[in-house]
């Protein structure tokens, strides 16, 4: 396992929606080349945090530090976003074919037709979706959508992949496919930040884990430190458990 090098750091992140505090983090670290998991109840702020980290949501206070550089108003966010990718829970596709959608991030980066078509074919082959390429993206099933969205995220070979509950609402077969293939698709250098409820994913993939409750960190550290009880509750220790119950 690689050494614990922080690629993205979030400090004193606060976000309010309509006067209500959604997120209040003192510190959150994303470790380079690792699977960083974020877990917690619904409404604990996981997805909100993911949106902030992936630079999709900039309506918050606090600092993001990418490779020891604070991201400020002068930072070229488009350039940074192009090093990141997001796999959404319910992916959105643009009007057009699957090829168009998978290759879109490369087109936006100005690659020529030969280049992006070649890469699209490669990634499609790895995800076993070559037969879908000519279809309209609007006609895909849930499982197919997830595969296409993984292809669209990984085609740019991003430094960090943000994954938001990738298998919620999917059928058994698609969940099986994701759990057995996702780790292979991600290269050694890639950093993964994943929000999930799926205990199989946590067990098999997680290297660092963060438990969120009501917008703040309950536990953050290696998976070994986490004492796992049932589907919906995550505690780091008996002491933490008691602490949690007090709130």
């Amino acid at each position: 396992m690689s050494s614990d090098k922080i690629i993205l750091k979030a400090l004193n992140i606060k976000k309010n929606i309509k006067g209500k505090n959604i997120l209040n983090l003192r510190e959150f670290n994303v470790y380079e080349g690792q699977f960083n998991f974020i877990i917690g109840h619904n409404g604990s702020g996981k997805t909100t945090l993911l949106n902030i980290l992936s630079l999709v949501d900039d309506d918050f206070s606090g600092d993001l530090i990418y490779k020891n550089q604070t991201i400020g108003p002068k930072t070229d966010k488009v350039k940074l976003r192009r090093r990141f990718s997001v796999i959404w829970q319910n992916p959105y596709f643009y009007r057009g074919s699957v090829i168009y959608n998978i290759s879109l991030p490369l087109r936006l980066r100005g690659l020529n037709k030969n280049q992006y078509l070649k890469k699209t074919e490669e990634i499609a082959k790895r995800l076993e979706i070559e037969n879908l390429l000519e279809q309209s993206a609007a006609t895909l099933s849930g499982g197919e959508k997830q595969k296409v969205s993984i292809a669209r995220a990984l085609i740019t070979e991003p430094e960090i992949v943000f994954v938001d509950e990738p298998t919620t609402n999917l059928d058994e077969e698609s969940i099986e496919f994701f759990n057995s293939h996702f780790a292979e698709l991600v290269t050694e250098e890639m950093t993964v930040v994943m929000v999930t409820h799926d205990k199989n994913q946590i067990r098999s993939l997680a290297e660092k884990i963060t438990v969120l409750k009501k917008g703040s960190v309950q536990y953050s550290g290696p998976i070994k430190g986490l004492h796992y009880q049932n589907d919906n509750n995550y505690y780091s220790s008996k002491q933490d458990y008691r602490l949690l119950m007090k709130n």
């Binding site: 949106n51 997001v86 959404w88 319910n90 992916p91 009007r95 309209s136 609007a138």
Partner: protein
Amino acid sequence: MNYIIEAFQEAWYLIIGFDRELFNVVSTSLRLSITSTFFASIIGIPAGIFIGRTNFGRKKIVNIILNTLLGLPTVVVGIFVYSLISRRGILGEYEMLFSFRGIIIGQIILIVPLITALIRNAIYSLDEKLYKTALSLGATKIQQFKLLLLEARYGIMGAVITGFGRVLGEVGISMMLGGNIKGVTRTITTAMALETNKGRFGFGLALGLILLLLAFIINIGVYSLQEGKEYEQR
């Protein structure tokens, strides 16, 4: 009955014989409608996208005003613009009354609210996730806007075509601001309104048939846009 058949026959001969006056009128109508729709689109498309996309303080009022203007009768626009471009009006010196430009100004005012509102609705109906996705894919501001336009393209085209149909069929503005001048500002609708007074029913009828045909073509356009949209969403 005989009389109606005769009128239809005359109309038919005028159309298939490419009657010069008839097609002059049709061409004036088309040139006017295309020009005013073009300029109204230049204003209405960005305005509609802006209202649909951004949250600003007075948005509610803007929307109420916009919805009010949707039902604006053509004669109201006609009188309003007349008062501006008449010699006694503040824009009188530009000699726009009874000219092509006068009608175009009126027609633009008529359909800018229509196009803006339809495009606003098209933007509203888009999925919010589209914007976040564009960001996460690494789109620049311009690319985000392009993606938005592409996503809303059927709605935008539909709005523009609807606006075109509205100006093609309106009579109040063309009459008041154009004056139905033969060979200059005589449009399909003003000619129909006034030529029948001369007892030229066949001529009026021929224009009516052409207008009907144009409306039919416009609706084929709107329908096939709808069709394309559904095809991609299937």
